[in-house]
């Protein structure tokens, strides 16, 4: 039992993380390991400065905590500090994956699952080298604070990724397919899906043509739309960026119109998947937050520090990638809400445009970018040839205002490789989602 001292705020976050990685390249086993790490991150705050320590020796946390207290200065009024006053004092224990933990699944079963899919991705002769990866993670978190918070919860993801390096003559292309989920048994029976992805990549290698650069209507798939929402507006909703400039409060006033009236972007740590964060790393309970509702700025994401600075409520978005880092304002699962069209209705009015089906990566500042992987022409309201596009980009606010069509169904996606990067902390697992989204004009290169 940790002994907290009066005159300070303190919290201690511990993680017991289990991971499996199995990797084959060109049919040969490259990696097969399980890893179990226990780490802790400790914070002490005296009202002026935060003192942090990251340790792997979780058996002697009191000693580390006392060291941090020694560096700080006692503050009799610490409980009146606006940051400390915001902290929640939740006491809870959540076990979501006790009956299906990947810790309990034999390594052999995981290896056999991956091996069962490998022949599928090399069926076409154009695949010169294929790589398959199985990854899983099960974490048990505990968070305790000097205010009495005491939370335990578990987290789990598992998934597969296949990369296919293809070549035919001078043509080169790297196709990929991946999926992430929370239960191992969801990874079985995926043969058809993987085979179709491999075939589509081979067709792209053989038949894709260079894009004619310019400005065109663009239709984004759910994954492209989710990344667009994350990159274009999600990062702008992380309110730590508002702390260094007082004029930001006026510029980012809630209620301001920031996008098309059909656009709503939501964010929540309650969504099952890789962005599942029932309590953030400051002990705040997850909730659904609207960033944009019907085109209007509706909210932003907070840690206790930013909520206090902007005099707003907590949102459950203080996250760290692991116990080497302090929590900062991050996303969990971000998605665009659905509209009222079918996919055919969405593309029907487009005379010449492009459909972005899969992506390599995205980024967002004043200009956002998405680097597509698989993309197609839209000609006279129908999908056409595969095309090679380096990057699509646009001014964030102009583009948010140019969204003029959404399909009804929303698809939520999880991944087990990669993740979100923010300054020194990368990769953080986050979820994405959305409907198919039509933008009337984007810059295509």
């Amino acid at each position: 039992m940790l002994q907290f001292r009066d005159g300070f705020y303190a919290d201690v976050r511990t993680e017991d993380r289990f991971r499996t990685i199995i990797q084959y390249k060109a049919g040969v086993l490259e990696e097969l390991k399980t890893r179990r790490e226990q780490q802790a991150f400790l914070r002490v705050y005296d009202g002026k400065l935060w003192y942090y320590a990251s340790v792997t020796d979780v058996k002697h946390l009191q000693k580390t905590l006392d060291g941090l207290y020694g560096a700080a200065t006692a503050n009799p009024a610490i409980l009146d500090d606006p940051i400390v006053r915001r902290f929640e004092r939740n006491v809870d224990r959540i076990e979501t994956f006790g009956d299906c933990s990947v810790r309990d699944i034999p390594l052999r079963n995981k290896q056999e699952l991956l091996l069962s899919y490998l022949p599928i991705v090399t069926e076409d002769d154009c695949v010169k080298m294929a790589q398959g990866i199985y990854v899983d993670r099960n974490s048990r978190f505990r968070f305790c604070s000097s205010l009495g918070a005491d939370i335990e919860y578990d987290y789990q993801t598992c998934g597969l990724r296949f990369d296919m390096n293809m070549a035919e003559g001078e043509k080169k292309f790297t196709g990929s397919w991946q999926t992430g989920c929370t239960r191992f048994d969801e990874l079985t029976g995926l043969e058809t899906e993987i085979r179709e992805a491999a075939k589509e990549s081979a067709d792209y290698l053989r038949n894709s043509v260079p894009v004619e650069a310019g400005k065109y209507p663009v239709v984004l798939s759910p994954i492209a739309a989710g990344v667009f929402a994350h990159e274009s507006f999600g990062h702008k909703s992380e309110s730590d960026f508002m702390l260094s400039d007082d004029s930001m409060k006026e510029e980012w006033q809630l209620g301001k119109t920031v996008g098309s009236p059909i656009l709503s972007i939501a964010e929540s740590g309650c969504v099952p998947g890789c962005g599942f964060v029932p309590y953030d790393d400051e002990g705040t309970k997850a909730r659904k937050n609207y960033l944009i509702r019907n085109g209007v700025l509706a909210g932003r994401l907070h840690s206790a520090q930013t909520a206090a600075a902007l005099d707003e409520g907590l949102t459950g978005n203080a996250r760290a990638i692991d116990c080497n880092f302090e929590p900062i304002v991050r996303m969990t699962t971000t998605w665009i809400e659905g509209g009222d069209l079918t996919f055919d209705e969405l593309i029907a009015p487009i005379e010449k445009g492009y459909f972005i089906k899969t992506i390599n990566h995205g980024s967002g500042m004043s200009t956002f970018t998405i680097a597509p992987s698989l993309a197609y022409e839209i000609q006279d309201g129908k999908l056409g040839r595969p095309v090679q596009i380096s990057v699509i980009s646009g001014n964030v606010f102009e583009t948010l205002g140019l969204i003029d069509g959404l399909t009804k169904d929303v698809e939520m996606l999880s991944f087990v490789t990669g993740g979100c990067g923010k300054m020194e902390q990368h990769p953080l697992p986050v979820g994405f989602g959305g409907p198919y989204v039509r933008v009337s004009e984007m810059n295509v290169q």
Partner: protein, 405 residues
């Protein structure tokens, strides 16, 4: 049975900066240990967080041989070498007051900027031993100033940044350079679309094509460079290396994860335009009959894989003025670019300066720049300069197509 033992310790102190003020101090110490054993063409790996018990790790690594991961038993031969640069960069007790004073002065010089992000002091030690008699060790440190700047009132996440990574913290020199950038930021500049010399950190372009330098993709025919090892493909001026030299890669390690030590501590990929090497491990080199360049990396509990330390392009000019004597574009932030499978590279540029005769003239609007792989490193490669404007900086220039975004 052959065996390798590796121990690594990293100790860092990091300050968080918000609105020009330090608001947190973080200390992280992390030690890891690794044992790899080799028998009957297979590798067994065991690793730990914290002080390693070599005997215990060795037993676990032997057990891991049962996984049957193929790996050649080709350890490096006898060699004893060490490189230690343990000089204190700044006493830890002085870290907060020194850097707050620096930030206060920077804030006075740049009053329209809101400054945030991190300043770190990092120290590391690495030790490698193997059963063939190789024993290597190194240690060093660096300071990393990574500040992002918001132009007050812009509404942007950030507009530009001030950065430096090195060992000799010289506040006056850094403040003078950051002030030069600040002044240019507020001078509007413009240019007509066309072809211009674009000056940038070369990693922005090189790392978009680095997969074409990976040994197993090369051997599989999936690289744009497949079959061309030893051929002159690029500009005579272009030499590309992986920098593991402690003199320039501060805080880095002069050997790779398999104990390989390259001539000059810089494995060479391209030399005077000739494709000289590929990124390999001992396994990929053996499997595909390629020379092993010595660029392996590995997690503390993982099988070695392909790595890249720090990009190094040989200098071709002594100063920015000599490199690009006329009008040029200096890219400060270009985020989100990529290349098509056939090698066409394009990226938006969120922050760029117009330069004339190597001097900053003013801030350009958002741009889009592009070029093709073999041209960028061939006829369109202008050259590289080191240590201008700050010690440790490497900037390269390429002739590129430039449009307004």
């Amino acid at each position: 049975m052959e065996k390798e033992f590796i121990k690594q310790t990293e100790h860092s102190y990091t300050l968080n900066v918000t609105a020009g003020k330090i608001d947190s101090f973080r200390e992280v110490e992390r030690t890891t240990g690794t044992v790899r054993v080799y028998e009957n063409g297979c590798i067994g790996v065991a690793g730990c967080l914290g002080e390693p018990d070599e005997a215990e790790l060795t037993e676990k690594a032997k057990e891991a041989l049962a996984f049957g991961i193929p790996y050649p038993e080709k350890l490096e031969g006898p060699l004893e070498a060490e490189a230690h640069n343990d000089a204190e960069i700044l006493p830890v007790a002085d870290f907060i007051p020194t850097m707050q004073s620096f930030l206060d002065r920077l804030g006075e010089l740049c009053p329209r900027f809101g400054l945030s992000n991190k300043i770190s002091l990092k120290y590391s030690q690495s030790e490698y031993r193997n059963s063939k008699g190789r024993s290597l060790s190194c240690s060093g440190g660096n300071m990393d100033i990574s500040l992002v700047a918001q132009n007050r009132g812009s509404g942007n996440l950030f507009d530009t940044g001030f950065g430096w990574d090195g060992v000799g913290f010289d506040a006056e020199k850094l403040l003078a350079e950051f002030k030069r950038e600040y002044d240019a930021f507020y001078v509007p500049a413009d240019l007509e679309p066309g072809r211009y010399p674009v000056v940038t950190d070369p990693s922005m372009i090189v790392f978009r094509f680095v997969n074409h330098l990976v040994g197993d993709l090369y051997a599989a025919g999936a690289s744009l460079l497949s079959g061309k090892l030893g051929e002159k493909l690029f500009s005579e001026k272009l030499t590309v290396r992986d920098d593991r030299n402690p003199d320039t890669a501060h805080g880095g390690c002069f050997f790779d994860a398999e104990g390989c030590v390259a001539p000059g501590f810089r494995p060479t990929l391209i030399e005077n335009g000739v494709l000289k090497g590929l990124l390999t491990t001992k396994k990929t080199a053996e499997t595909y009959g390629l020379p092993n360049l010595g660029t392996a990396d590995a997690a503390y509990d993982g099988v070695p894989g392909i790595g890249f330390g720090k990009l190094y392009l040989d200098a071709t000019a002594k100063s920015l003025k000599e490199l690009v004597p006329g009008k040029a574009i200096l890219v400060a932030i270009a985020s989100g670019g990529d290349a098509t499978p056939d090698g066409h590279f394009a990226t938006p540029v969120q922050m760029a300066y117009l330069m004339e005769n190597g001097e900053l003239v003013g801030r350009l609007p958002d741009l889009a720049i592009s070029g093709d792989f073999f041209d960028l490193f061939g006829k369109d490669y202008i050259g590289t300069v080191h240590d201008d404007p700050l010690d440790g900086t490497i900037l390269s220039a390429f002739e590129m197509d430039v449009e307004k975004a």
